[in-house]
């Protein structure tokens, strides 16, 4: 059995009186693709914010590779191999497409300011590597991010390509665990289909373990090894897609009970 990469033990978080996550247990094995589903406000994005260190849990522990990451700064967690995309795109819009990806290499590169000023051989070598890495990560998306100039500013990209660029940027941080927050949101059917294939390729070719939040059930069905359903901050179901999709509690969370549902 593969080893556990990420483990959440009894994680709770409340904003004032609002309990966003309650006693959540979750584990992700290395090489797995796990989908998190649930209605709006279920706590999915909060879960991501907890794992990446933007919030700190009130209770419980989060382990990455067996070591607790609670209390670490987000950039420290990123250096330990967790990278993410955002549901509401957060690109560096006024920087070029390529620079967006290059910027994310900060965590695993070392040249300081003075070495940059002097352009030492080591710094130049590192810079070439960052450059190559960025081109490689952008090339991963085929012609979607190749067809036009990498030197265009990121704001000139279409919505779908911005989503792709966010994934490229996240992978440039060289993560072992990739958190994708609604990668198919706002995409047309063709692009959604492409994203499903892409997530599969990310695991096959990139070797990433992937935790993904997604509302599109076709995507969830197509990619997931395992599905976790949240509602009101509580895990209500876990298992294969078919198990979760037919779980009465999940159906209830999405559609309401028979008594309240009309028709």
């Amino acid at each position: 059995m593969a080893k556990t990469l990420l483990e959440l033990r009894g994680v709770s978080l409340a904003f004032g009186g609002l309990r966003v996550l309650t006693e959540l247990d979750l584990s992700v094995e290395e090489g797995e693709i796990v989908s998190v589903i649930g209605p709006n406000g279920a706590g999915k994005t909060t879960l991501f914010n907890l794992i990446t260190g933007i919030y700190e849990p009130d209770e419980g522990d989060i382990l990455l590779d067996g070591q607790s990451i609670v209390g670490l700064q987000p950039h420290q967690i990123s250096r330990r191999g967790v990278s993410r995309t955002f549901q509401t795109l957060r690109l560096f819009l006024n920087m070029s497409v390529k620079e967006n990806v290059m910027a994310a290499a900060y965590g695993h590169t070392h040249a300081g300011i003075f070495r940059s000023m002097l352009r030492t051989p080591g710094m130049r070598r590192e810079e070439r590597e960052i450059d190559r890495l960025a081109e490689e990560r952008l090339a991963f998306f085929g012609e979607r991010l190749m067809g036009y100039r990498w030197n265009q500013p990121a704001y000139s990209l279409s919505y779908a390509n911005r989503r792709r660029l966010e994934i490229a940027r996240a992978t440039a941080a060289k993560p072992s665990l990739l958190l994708l927050d609604e990668p198919a949101a706002g995409m047309n059917p063709v692009e959604t289909h492409e994203i499903s294939e892409l997530i599969g390729r990310l695991r096959e070719e990139g070797g990433y373990t992937i935790l993904v939040i997604e509302h599109d059930m076709h995507v969830v069905e197509g990619i997931s090894d395992r599905v976790v359903a949240l509602d009101h901050g509580v895990k209500i179901s876990e298992g294969s897609f078919d198990q979760v999709a037919t779980d009465p509690r999940v159906v209830e969370a999405y559609l309401g009970t028979k008594a309240t549902a009309t028709k």
Partner: protein, 491 residues
Amino acid sequence: MTDPTPHSPDDVPADGPAVGRDEWVARHDERRLARGRLLGPLEERLRRVPWWAWLVLFIALLALVPAVSGSGYVRRVAFDTVLYMLLALGLNVVVGWGGLLDLGYVAFYGFGAYAYAVLDSDKFGVHLPTLVAIPVVVALGAILGLLLGLPSRRLTGDYLAIVTLFFLQLFQTVMTNGDKAFGHNLTGGPNGILRVDPFHAFGHSLVVQHQGVFAVSYYYVAIAIFAVVFVALWLVNRSRTGRAWRSLREDPLAAEAMGMPVSWLKLMSFSFGAAVAALTGTAFAALNASVFPLTFYFTLLIIVYTMVILGGSGSQPGVVLGALIVSPVLEMLREPAKGRILFYVVLVGGALVAFRVSRRLGVIVAATVAFGFAAHAIANAVDHSWVAGEHAGGVSGALAHWVVVPAQLARWLTPVSYVGLIGMALVLTLVYGRLRVALLVPTLYLAAFVWENVMLTNPEPARYIILGLLLIVLMILRPNGLLGERRVEII
């Protein structure tokens, strides 16, 4: 009929509509080359010129200034302009790249000047060699920047602005009252520190004046410092740190999530800006041989910010250009004759930009000219003293028959014309079409009247009013500054 939605990107015919591909952007180069047989390729050529070639050309042009003009005044203005360029470059690190609104910036400039004055003057009898003093001052400036950054690193936007503004005030207060600090005279108080050493190394001193004329040596030293700072910052900007700074400006949360230590980067940005400002301060103190607290205050802060905003915050060539425009313009406005030329050039240029070369522009110009001569003739016919002030004000030529300059300006006329002009300008923004053109003519004339009668007699406030107007007009025409990249907010 078939389903119009392609099921895979491979189904799309090569020449058909490409879903998800940014067609417009993809053809950017084609469009640029199609712009004309001459202009397109020329632009392409110019774009390929490496950055350092532009820099060498620019510095060569700067270095030629003393050769073109032997006047000490011109050289002095050129020297001040180079110092302003340095200040703008330093502020660009904090504001343009780091995205941090630092309103205490000139305090670091003042700190550099004071630190140099303390290390190289009779004040405490310390006379460090310049090659030792400058690195020490720069290091101290960087440390001070770090210290200010420490408590402010979690602040952004307005809150950071307030804290840094407070720091500037604190610096000012300490320097002004430093003559009674615990019973010691540390800073000379309002009288500052006098008899500061010039730059000196290896037994030689850089003279400020040679036979009564501003010597070029300091100018060349300033250019050398400028070149070093420009290149250093350029290289930092194209490195991992520069990219991280700009990421921090764009989105601190995303930058942090992508492995960039945001707090540390902010501190570094503060510290670097402060170091550049402190370095500039040493040259300022050495040249003037004295430092006074009030030099480093809001007026200077506003001027440096104007340069950065006008030139294009975030762009190094932009902020240099901003300094290159603002500094000489402020100098020109000191002298009525030069200020007058500037004023009319801006007036005509503004009309040209607003209306292009069109029949409407012709009508407006003709009407304004006619309006002026008519008003002048009428005023002359009624009472000659109404137009007798021309020679006192230095107006000559055709202008003297156009603009009315009374020998004795009635007391009430100053505020009335001033407020009237502002009122007319406001009304102009509310009306459209022919009425606007009709109202523009008397407004332009009134502007000339106010300029000749009110503003030229008070050049000091007029300088800043003109600077403000320049900024407003340019911000409307180019919201991101002259050389600034197009900016978008998060959408």
